[in-house]
Symmetry: C2
Subunit: 617 residues, 2 copies
């Protein structure tokens, strides 16, 4: 770290990034993986990226166009107009955050036209007379005729029509889902129209409560996938489903319970009643999708690896015991093939890969790594069993990215510098910390490109003592490097990076890199043909690109070609919730994206082994 860098801490997140002098706050925030509002992309002309500087030196020019001088003096500035001149603490207010909607302007490069499947319509129909003896339903149909053509109605919904119609003096709210009437409500309740998009990850499940009338996101809730206790990756889940009595039912019930909990939390946070949620959309990898729908994933894990269902499916949520409005629907996104599921369709949809002229590479790193490469002419995809290493599992001191997790490691000539989430005492290491520590130890020569961790006595004499001292042979964990000594850790024991952890990481990053190579081969292209690498997924958003390239998790491409796109899979689920057109596109993506079964590729094993080493430099 020869060059001077400033540390920028973003509040209330408590996340930190190191940036070069003269970097703008806008870039720093972006680098930290936080999505800030901006219509103009940092050109200083929309005035949306307002932040409050709490501490530090800076220079700003152009904020006065949108902010009063008095406020500027208090440190209220536009992030894009402000240069960082020292370490800094900056607060990004809620009003300046866009969360995933950033993808709308940055990833999607187009407007998402709000056209949800669910529409609520308040009708005031004519009262019947002897001259107008139309049936109650005909009366409603006639009222809807510009919107829907004689929509079907389930008999149990219809049963409520006559009384509601008369109690509301022939004013009634109709809930339409495509061409079905799924609800009949007394009086005008057309403003209460909500949906939930859910991204079911192998490890983490995230739900988004959306206002279907406005497209606004009202709340987010996340849970650990409770299936985790039956296996931490998809193969072990399938194994559980197939080797235990009612295994499939158990896994299915767990995820359904999780979804119901998330929905309850979203209702609380959003301050809405559950009965006004009319649709859920779900996305997830093929295994998650099968388990949710209680489709047996057995044949997915057996030669020749076939799913039961590729396409989307549409059903009553109640049929899966998911509790929203009694007649509400569930739409599970279409999948591609094998283990590549609706999450990848979501990534493609959210990043517009299927419409891109340029060749791009999108990578969604979760417990599985899903990779997709190509452009509008051809897209190829594959799934690699990256394992849950980057989510903290299978790592000796691994943990989820929560308070006390080592999320950043810098080794310079002064020592080993650690940053933890929430600035709490260290209790473990999360994915970004794992990448950082390996990258830094590669840099200082403690880890060799082969992945072998040097023993203390093997270390060249020019290495500083503070490194030498941290290299130990732990009685239980073997060769290891002390990241945080017990005196400083929360747990009172040394927090280690072990040789085993390095090997685990090599397997994960090797699988991903091998997938990348195979996709390139499939398309017959080279590294330089790739114009952009899109990094999706919760974890992807926190990765420091330099370090990821350093350990070979990402291909060696110019850093500015790598773009964070947030939880693109989840964003895809939101898009299909908000737009029927997006469902049609998702369906096309599902049908047209090619799938490469890595298991069939004769050269996969070889490429995989070759991909496991770390780059020399």
């Amino acid at each position: 770290m020869g060059e001077k860098k400033f540390r920028v801490t973003i509040e209330p997140d408590g996340r930190s990034v190191y940036v070069l002098p003269d970097t703008t706050l806008y870039e720093a925030v972006h680098e930290a993986g936080i999505v800030i509002k901006s219509d103009c992309g940092g050109m200083g002309v929309c005035g949306k990226c307002k932040v409050n500087i709490v501490k530090g030196n800076y220079e700003q020019k152009g904020s006065e166009r949108f902010i009063s001088e008095e406020d500027i003096k208090k440190g209220h500035v536009l992030a894009c107009r402000t240069k960082i001149l020292s370490d800094m603490v900056v607060e990004i207010p809620i009003s300046s955050r866009l969360y995933e909607q950033k993808i709308l302007t940055e990833g999607l490069k187009r407007e998402l036209k709000l056209a949800p499947n669910v529409k609520k319509v308040y009708l005031k129909v004519d009262e019947p007379t002897l001259e107008d003896q139309r049936s109650d339903l005909d009366r409603v149909w006639d009222g809807l005729k510009n919107i829907a053509n004689k929509p079907k109605v389930a008999v149990d919904v219809l049963r409520r029509l006559p009384d509601k119609l008369r109690k509301g003096k022939f004013g009634i709210t109709i809930v339409l889902n495509e061409n079905d009437i799924i609800g009949i409500e007394r009086d005008d309740k057309s403003d209460k129209n909500y949906g939930v998009a859910i991204d079911i990850g192998t490890t983490t499940v995230v739900g988004y409560l959306m206002n279907l009338n406005t497209g606004e996101q009202l709340a987010v809730a996340a849970r650990t996938n409770p299936q985790t206790s039956f296996g931490d990756d998809v193969i072990s889940r399938i194994h559980y489903a197939n080797t235990n009595k009612d295994g499939l039912e158990t896994l299915s019930e767990r995820i359904v319970t999780c979804l119901n909990d998330i929905i309850d939390e979203l209702c609380d946070k959003g301050g809405i009643e559950k009965k006004f949620i009319y649709e859920i959309t779900t996305t997830g990898n093929s295994t998650m999708n099968h388990l949710l729908l209680r489709l047996n994933p057995k044949y997915l894990s057996q030669y020749p690896y076939v799913t039961v269902l590729r396409s989307s499916i549409d059903m009553r949520a109640e049929d899966l015991d998911i509790h929203i409005n009694k007649y509400g629907k569930l739409y599970a996104m279409p999948n591609i093939a094998g283990f590549v599921g609706g999450d990848t369709v979501g990534v493609i949809l959210a990043t517009d890969l299927h419409k891109s002229k340029d060749i791009k590479f999108a990578i969604d790193i979760g417990t599985n790594g899903e990779l997709v490469m190509g452009n509008k002419d051809r897209l190829v995809s594959c799934s690699t069993a990256a394992g849950p290493a980057f989510e903290g599992a299978r790592i000796t001191f691994g943990m989820r990215a929560s308070d006390g997790a080592i999320e950043k490691v810098v080794i310079d000539d002064k020592g080993v510098h650690i940053n933890t989430i929430g600035n709490a005492k260290a209790s473990g290491i999360c994915g970004t910390g794992l990448i950082d520590s390996i990258a830094e130890l590669l840099k200082v020569g403690v880890i060799l490109p082969s992945g072998r961790m040097m023993k203390r006595e093997e270390l060249p004499e020019d290495k500083p003592d503070f490194i030498r001292e941290r290299l130990i042979i732990h009685e239980k964990h073997g060769v290891a490097f002390i990241l945080v000594p017990k005196s400083e850790s929360k747990t009172g024991e040394d927090i280690l990076l072990t040789q085993k952890d390095v090997r685990e990481t090599q397997l994960a990053k090797g699988a991903i890199l091998a997938g990348y190579e195979i996709l390139k081969n499939s398309l017959g292209i080279k590294d330089e043909d790739i114009t952009e690498v899109l990094l999706a997924g919760a974890f992807g958003n926190y990765i420091r690109r330099d370090q990821a390239i350093r350990i070979g998790l990402l291909p060696k491409l110019p850093k500015d070609k790598i773009r964070f796109v947030g939880n693109a899979a989840g964003f895809g689920a939101k898009m299909v919730l908000l737009s029927k057109d997006m469902r049609r596109e998702a369906c096309e993506i599902s049908e047209n994206t090619e799938y490469v079964e890595l298991a069939v590729k004769k050269d996969f094993q070889e490429i995989f082994v070759n991909s496991m080493g770390f780059p020399e430099k």
Copy 2:
């Protein structure tokens, strides 16, 4: 009865008709309301109307074309080639009966193209390989691609796909209902494809088991509508539904139980398994339809008499607790308006009224009398509360048309001649017996055109003693005519036609005739513009046209303009079961047929009162 007539008894039905000498057996059978096979309409060229003469003199010419001389000698002849020369007993074998399919050739005047909603398809799909990793459902979809476009499949059906596919070595039977996959069955079961059409009358419910692959009728089963114990007409049922706790639920449960019983009986008779019944179609008047679907019929009985549902509805039979195949569907025929329901749509469909150039009048006499008049350019309909008199209810000695019911009465100068169903001892009087007895008593002057029954002492002196003696004043029933003296009755009491019975009949026939007048007025036509009167319904088929005209139940038109069309409503239900095209037509009929609300017609009461008297001659 000056002219000599022969009595022809048809076996095994036990039904009798009186015919003039030289009448053909074909005509006699037809007159008896029994449907005999004939492609040529009695021209002697198709050879299908084979019957066995058990007793009686006859002359045949032309049977040898189709029947061996030896068999002819045994009395095996073609009905259309045989003249009746004496009283006769004739057996019509099952093989010569067509049941309602007669309508196909006589009423419909066109072929019904077999195009049922339910299709079973045996598919042999490719086994998956690493080169062909299509999902299980995609594999099925591709196999179906010439038949259906990616049919939807419920998730619980889909769950069974992977194992069934593999256990059947990738041979599988798919059950399609329109564009839904409603069943997945191992191996080839495409030949087991059944449906049930059900005509839900206010008093009688009839079910037909149909082979959906061949159109063949396999069994018929009938039950009394168990709702009868809660009221014998639609108004009293609606009243029960609205004035009793769970009244609607009770009525709905009763009819559902009845349907389930009928289905069980049909399976027994047809020798098939219930799980191979994939669809039910139902028809009935609006009230029956509402009660089946558990739609509140309250507003149908209140000003301004509005139904909840006019159109058809399509649902899982299981949602109504009707047990056929678990995923089987129920299609309830569309209705017209007010009390005119799917039964009338069925009559129009079966009789092709909506395509007729000539103006026709169809009448379905049940507990309600539904009337429809017009041609392809315009059809008007109405419903008259005929009451259940013709079904034996509200008549002092009334009974259903079953063994022991007086079904025919002839009074000539020798005495009162009675015929009962099954030639059993008389135990009551059914609809045809009621009409006959009133018509005959009008003829002999015991009943006056006003409806008043003469007292014995009022009877002119020229009336024979055997009539005089039968006119009594019963201590309980008042003025009455003894049809069968207690010495000859099964019950040991006199079987009477009472003054009250005559009044009840006047109300019923008055309502029907008034409806007829109003429809004529609506169309602005006269009696002579009507080219044909179509008599539908189980009862209609047994009516003797002369007698019905005599009492003014039918308009005074030439007898040969009156045609029996069998249970046309039930036949309509079969048509929509066997043909999607017919569903479309039924829908058009439902939308285009006008409804006349008799209650609004200012002149209805006057016409009704005028219609209650009996014709002078």
